[in-house]
Every structure is written in structure tokens, then in C-alpha cells.
Symmetry: C2
Subunit: 346 residues, 2 copies
Amino acid sequence: MENQTEISTLGEFGLIDHITENLPIHNASTKKAVGDDCAVMDYEGKKVLVSTDLLLEGVHFDLTYVPLKHLGYKSAIVNFSDLYAMNARPRQITVSLGISKRFTVEHIEQLYAGIRLACEIYGVDIVGGDTTSSRSGLVISITCIGDADEDKIVYRNGAKPTDLICVSGDLGAAYMGLQLLEREKIASAGQKDFQPDFAGKEYLVERQLKPEARRDIIDELEKAGIVPTSMMDVSDGLSSELLHLCKQSHTGCRVYEDRIPIDYQTAVMAEEIGMNLVTAAMNGGEDYELLFTVPLSDHETIKNIKGIKIIGHMTQPDMGCAMITRDGAEFPIKAQGWNPLKDAEK
Amino acid sequence: MENQTEISTLGEFGLIDHITENLPIHNASTKKAVGDDCAVMDYEGKKVLVSTDLLLEGVHFDLTYVPLKHLGYKSAIVNFSDLYAMNARPRQITVSLGISKRFTVEHIEQLYAGIRLACEIYGVDIVGGDTTSSRSGLVISITCIGDADEDKIVYRNGAKPTDLICVSGDLGAAYMGLQLLEREKIASAGQKDFQPDFAGKEYLVERQLKPEARRDIIDELEKAGIVPTSMMDVSDGLSSELLHLCKQSHTGCRVYEDRIPIDYQTAVMAEEIGMNLVTAAMNGGEDYELLFTVPLSDHETIKNIKGIKIIGHMTQPDMGCAMITRDGAEFPIKAQGWNPLKDAEK
């Protein structure tokens, strides 16, 4: 960009005033947003749900290939996804930013534009936050508040043996998108005006850089009158999330390899980099799809909802958690999801 | 410490399980705490208030002289203070931590012990959070949720000309505590077993390292039947906060130098380092005292509450914001509060 403004010219309050200017309000529950010691909300008889995510540069994102606007969008989406994962609706977020000096006002505007776009699309209000300097990289901490009727909230612990296990969308694409971006980053090293080659793999890049939260699935379930018995979003990988649901619901599970939904581009990329496709789909993470269980009696209804795949069923806990391969073999499911604590540097 | 456990031996979920084990629940509004995609709360007709703070190593704290348990305590307190500043009650917090590899499980236990102690004393529940690795220093992001009756919430914008300006406790001590700790840090450089000299200045160190939130003042005001017309907590310094109240309430103000509450130790330390005492008290910050306004008619009631000092009064906006010195001179009040965005490194 041509015109760059140093953040110090605005100062903390100036920057906050600038980026929170003309924030729209979408929800009646938002009574007082930015500008006081606290935001004030009124949920009028509904239950209040809160979730929070901390994203750190170099751990969760690499600004070499992640545009700031996409990063802002994704930072908001991953929080909305947690609210939908409880069958609730996100209503407000607070946005805290730690900013190092290499960022300008324009950079923060881009980041915030992404957050605001996500809020616009999902009908969420920005009600507060904190802005400070950082001595190292960019820090993004978003807390999302939402609401739900008490009898609609879906926890992780309500699944029963014989419940059907369902997943929305497809899995593994975001992970393959990351592999692709990393590959192009290495290929670009030292080359000016390098043009990355994403031809035929646009979906993978989009799934990594600009994921969506599955509000549409929550809407469809509501329309169909289905309240899942357990639910969570797939952020660390299907294997890891299945184990969470089974552990908290005191069940085992059987999922079928040939039922795991995988996009064609994901399969092509796995082939190219010589990675086992099912491993990628089961352990990739960052899919932000919904994993949930419904009673067997909902089978007819659920199989007619577009974008939802039945991948298996819950069992008695002593059966353990396993995947049935195409040739009928049974493999125990193990969590190989991404562990963000293994990634730290001394 | 002798026995140190690498965090990688527990992993993310193991560490979260470990530090959130046996968390007590103090509030009926906490329906579901740690362990799902969201926490769930029920505020039963009350308004819901949310505040958030981001604390970064090297910017907000220096682990050379800040013990981790104190840091945890203070991180929670500064958030509680924001809730009291709205005349609300903190009920729940989420705690997100970014941890670099030089921290062990025992370090995080200490940090968490401080957070838990603050929660125990103030009756607040830990309901969620996020734990991840950090490539540089320690990152602490806490969001606090609380409640209040609608007609009791105090904003920054309700002050009227002639309202009395009140402040709790005393000012400038936390800032002087920081100066003292920095001085001893420099004095200790390179010396093993250095014993810092805090004799006669224990109060300053305590105000810096282990501040309290003024729940007691909120209790006293409630007992006296007083709802302030405007209020905020003094985190950036009295000057800066006075300007906020005046700007948002569309008033001016007059405060009297000889009414600013200052502790004896603060005065001694200012003398020692050759710093203007009133400047320190007006601009030091991190006092976490309450600054509020009440109608003139509350004068008799307010002057009998221990720990509250009337320091001046609001005026018509065209009078501007000024301090009256001991010799009757009038000086405009300017914000010289700490600007966390000026402190970043490239």
C-alpha cells in the first residue's frame, strides 16, 4: 500500500476510536457497545453462552501468505463456530489486539475490515475489546457471547449408544489448503513477483484462508425440528472430536471410512503430496464443520438435509472408538489432532 | 523450584484438565463451566456486562520482578475492577493463555493459583478459556462477565455540572511501586542473591504487584443507597479518566490539588526520585481505584463513607477541565496516562 500511517500518530484511544467508528448494531440484546468499562447486554430470559479463542502470529497464522482481512474474518468465524456448536446464536464479540510496531493503521484497518465483514454476514455486534502494543507478533483474542433457549442448547455429553453420527460439509480441505500454501511459500523463497500456483485447488485455499461457520446447518436442523443429542465443531480434526463426544457422553463409536465426506480437490492434493487421504480428513483440523449425533428415529429426516452426511453411529462404551475401513477391517480411532502446545519455541 | 514438568508431557488438553481441575462454582448464574465449546450462564432478568483485558509480557509485566502468582491475581483483579466500575458484579471469567516453552507446568500452576485466589476472594467462576503455545512471551487474555440490575448500571456519561467528583483510596502508589521495582532491578543487575530493599515502601510494592478491586466501595455505596451519576476505574491515571468522564458526560471539571488522596510512602518515594508528587498521582495509573460523581445532594452521605474523598466538582462544559493548585492557580488537565501503543518494538 502507498499511504501508511504509523499507529503512534493515533495512540491507543485514537486507534480504538478509529477502528470502532460507526459500528453497526444487529441485535436487540446489545444495549451498550464500545466506549465504557464494559459492554451491556440484555438476553431476556435466554441462556447466555461464552467462548473465547486466542490466536498468535507464528503459531496460528503466518502473515507471509495470510492476508490480514482474511485473518480477521477467520478469527471471528472460529468463535461463531463455537456458538453454533452448542446450537446457540453468536450475538456479540469483544476483540483484543496486541500489535507490534511493524503494523500500520492501514494494516489494522484491513484486519478489522475482515472482522467487521464476518460480523455483518453473521449478524454479530462488536461490543468491546482491548488494544495494546506487542513486543513480538500480532496477538488476536476474541471472545464471543451468544444466546439460546435452555431446551435447545446441545452439549458434548448427550449422545446415546445407537445415535447416528453426522457431519456437515467435507473434511480435510483446510488442512490440504495449508499444505498447499506452505509448499508455495517454500517455492517462492527469494523470488520477487512469485506467482503461486493454485489452479484447480482454489477450494482448498479458500477453506484454509476464509472458512465459514455452519449457521446454515443450525438453521436447517431447526427447520426440521431436530435438536442433536450432542454436538461440537471440528476444529482439531474429526478423530479428536469424536473421542471428545464419546468420552463426555460415555459411549463408543463406529464410523465408516467410505462415509467420510471428502472433496475431490482434497483427494487430488493428498495424492500429489503422497499423504493418506483418510488420515488427512480425520486429523487435519480447521474444518469448522459440525459433528453431531441424533437419535436413530431422526434417520429419515436427517438423510434428506443437504450438506449433512451420516458417517456412523454411537455404541456402548466398552466397544471403544473405531473406524471400519472399506475392506471391513476395524482400526481404533486415535487423536492425532494438532497440539498447539507442541509448537512453541524456547 | 526443584521438580519442573515440561508442558509437552501433558499436551494442551492435559494442561487444561490439570489447571481447571476441581474449579469451584460460586454463582447460581454459572450453569456450565469449562469442558464444552462454550460456557453457559443464566442471569435471570439481570443485564449482562462484559469486559476484556489483554496482558503481554514485556509490555504489561516484567517477570524479572513479578511473581507468577501475583501476576495471575492482578490479571483477574483488573478485569473485576472494570465490572465494579459499572456498579456491576463480576461473576465469570474466561482465561486464555499463550505460553512459551520456557514455562513449565509448575509455572502455569502458580499463575493459575493467583487467578483462582482472586476468583475465590471475589466470588467469581472460571468458566472457560483457551490455551496455546506462544513463540515469544507469556500472553494473558481475560474476559470477565457480570451482572447488574438495569437501574443500577453506572456509565461514564451520566455526570451533570455541579456533581461532586469522588475517588476511593489513594493514587500514585502503584506507579511509585513500579519505579521502585525498576530501580531495584537495575541495582540487582549481574548480582547473584541480590536482596532488594523495600523497607518502608512495602505498600508501594503491594499496590503494584497485588492490587485489589474496590468491591468494598461498591458495597458501601449500595448500603448508603447511592447510585453514582458516572463512574470508571482509575487504570490509566486520574487525569486521563477525568477527561473521559467529562468528554462522555459533556461537562467540565475542577479538582483541587490539596484534595488528591496520596499515601505517605508515595510522597517519600516521589521525593527520593525527584518526581513531582501530584504529577505521579494524576498520571501514574494502575491504581484501580474508583472515580465517580454523585449529585450535590449526596454530599452529607458520601463524606461519611470511609475511603472516599471528594476531590472537586463537575462544571459546565465550556469551563474546561482544570486543577486548582494549593496557591489558587488553575492548570488545564491533560491526559498523560500511559499509552501502551507507544511501547512497542519494531
